[in-house]
């Protein structure tokens, strides 16, 4: 439900803010970029049981941009996969909540952190489901900078060739990667046309508009026999004005004053 997921996305952002502040961690911009996508996925799309994270018929979710782990940990804790208080030790010595997503955390399928691994792995899961006649789906959340990795294009080609319409890729297209913009690094446009040429069914949405996300993510496959890729146009650092569209918030953690300002902005959004 849109209102529920909007409130959920605020809670994700607020928890991420606290986690990154206390751990003095990086990647807050990446987490805010995907907060709405994650809220709709966990709030309205993925078929999961909190009390049985390994339920065989669950939908599988893979975070390929593993550096945005804090957003997933927050979503999972808010859903009840593990105690909310555990978020306070994110990034601490000995914590299972490592700063790149870990399969040792309840509800997490696969560890990533090196880009270009999530889609090939998801492809294997989707193929396994098809071969066994199982109806669950695989959702993979990728970054735009990650499109530079050749392994993804191998997987795009393979998935279409094998008609894996139970596979959904979401590209968090916030237009900024590690050092500068995507356009200045390695241009990926025309992205939609490239993906269509690779045999995927392609849609584009505002990645912060919950209605658009809801209607796209809950209606896959959009074309029978084709995997679906949602290009979600997003803003890096979305939700905190001074973090938006700034490369430095790929690395920085907020100080106490910035924490207060950011919390206020999220609350009042």
């Amino acid at each position: 439900m849109p209102m529920d997921t909007i409130s959920f996305s605020k809670q994700i952002r607020k928890n991420v803010l606290q986690m990154v502040y206390h751990a003095k961690a990086s990647h807050i911009g990446s987490c805010f970029s995907i907060a709405d996508i994650v809220a709709v996925l966990y709030g309205a799309t993925l078929n999961l049981y909190v009390n049985d994270p390994a339920w065989p018929n669950r939908d599988r979710f893979i975070l390929s941009k593993g550096h945005a782990a804090a957003a997933i940990y927050a979503a999972l804790a808010l859903k009840g996969f593990f105690p909310l208080e555990e978020l306070q030790i994110y990034g601490n010595d000995g914590s299972r909540l490592m700063a790149h997503i870990s399969h040792k955390v309840p509800g997490v399928e696969f560890s990533t952190g090196s880009l270009g691994h999530g889609l090939p792995f998801s492809t294997g899961k989707a193929l396994a489901a098809k071969k066994q006649g199982l109806t669950w789906r695989v959702f993979t959340l990728m970054s735009d900078g990650e499109m530079d990795e050749g392994s993804n294009w191998e997987a795009f080609m393979f998935s279409a060739h094998h008609s894996l319409d139970n596979l959904v890729a979401i590209i968090d297209y916030n237009k900024i990667q590690s050092l500068t913009t995507v356009a200045k690094t390695l241009g990926i446009e025309p992205l939609a046309e490239k993906l269509r040429a690779f045999g995927w069914s392609v849609r584009e949405v505002n990645g912060h508009d919950h209605d658009q996300l809801h209607s796209a993510l809950n209606t896959t496959p959009w074309e029978e026999g084709k995997p679906s890729v949602l290009i979600a146009h997003t803003t890096k650092g979305k939700g905190v004005s001074f973090m938006e569209n700034e490369v430095k918030w790929h690395y920085h953690s907020p100080n106490r004053e910035q924490l207060s300002l950011a919390t206020l902005e999220i609350d009042n959004a």
Partner: protein, 301 residues
């Protein structure tokens, strides 16, 4: 070896419907019987090794034991990070199979010389290395791996290697397999992989007459602790391998003695000099020319 591989894999896949075979667009005249028998469990991933390993890991995470077959360095170095992160770290039952281990593809050149693969695989804590010495050991390795599905690497030679065992032997990780008893003087050659055939020829050379011969078809990081007690039973052990001396089997044996340094002097390593990198020649020629021997030792033919 490769024919024994596909024949045994078919036997095992008949009994286990979760065994799948993915190839990297290679295996002409080898893998067809599997593909014909089990079309639903055979996938040609194309010439795309990174996706191939990720794909295999994904399938393995859903209950399959996936064998990934390609040649030389393609399913190992090209996709090393996928093996490290996706397979090894997640402890998934994927067996990476390479044909043309060592210098098997001699005249094909450096791109096809798999002489650093042990070094790569033995750095991965959960990988079990299976390097059988003859077709019987190939079958033994496959039986072990399917009974104990885990991240693993199976290094095959090519085709036509002699059978040095009469039957399929019983094997276990890190355990030496006796191939020839020797004269009781507590000296042994110890080898892994297809160099077992060469090692047997070495027994006829003056320097090694009377030696026993052991093979170790299963090994890896977790089996290291089993070596010192076995080494302690022998006065002299000469390891032989078709791999660079750096990071290879002999260096693994030496490292296993970190806590038993008094045994170190009993080990001599025969492995390839790095001058082999880039040399052109048949397998036998390159092996003879590049194996590192003591200065006073006759080159075994």
């Amino acid at each position: 070896m490769r024919n024994a591989f596909v024949d045994e894999l078919i036997n095992l896949a008949t009994l286990n419907d979760k065994i799948a075979l993915i190839v990297g667009d290679l295996g002409f005249s080898v893998i067809e019987p599997f593909a014909e028998r089990f079309p639903d469990r055979f996938i040609n991933a194309g010439v795309a090794e990174q996706n191939m390993i990720g794909l295999a890991a994904g399938m393995a995470s859903e209950g399959y034991h996936v064998f990934v077959y390609s040649i030389a360095n393609f399913p190992t170095f090209r996709c090393a990070e996928q093996i490290r992160n996706d397979v090894d770290y997640h402890k998934l039952p994927v067996t990476v199979v390479t044909v043309g281990g060592g210098l098997s593809y001699g005249n094909m050149g450096y791109s096809h010389h798999a002489v650093q693969d042990y070094g790569l695989m033995r750095l991965l804590p959960n990988i079990l290395i299976a390097s059988p010495g003859d077709p019987m050991e190939v079958r033994a390795c496959l039986r072990y791996l399917t009974m104990n599905p885990q991240p693993s690497y199976l290094r095959l030679g090519r085709a036509g290697e002699p059978c040095l065992h009469k039957d399929v032997p019983e094997i276990a990780p890190g355990k030496w397999l006796l191939v020839h008893s020797g004269d009781g003087s507590k000296r042994s050659l110890l080898t892994t992989g297809a160099t077992l055939a060469q090692a047997q020829q070495w027994l006829t050379v003056a320097s090694y007459v009377g030696y026993a011969l052991h093979s170790m078809p299963l090994w890896g990081m977790s089996a290291k602790s089993l070596q010192a007690p076995q080494i302690a039973s022998w006065e002299s052990i000469v390891t032989i391998e078709d791999h660079l001396v750096d990071g290879g089997f002999g260096s693994w044996i030496r490292e296993s003695l970190e806590s038993s340094p008094h045994l170190m002097r009993r080990i001599s390593v025969r492995a390839l000099d790095s001058k082999v990198c880039g040399m052109v020649g048949g397998q036998e020629t390159l092996f003879q020319e590049c194996i590192i021997l003591p200065f006073d030792e006759q080159r075994p033919k």
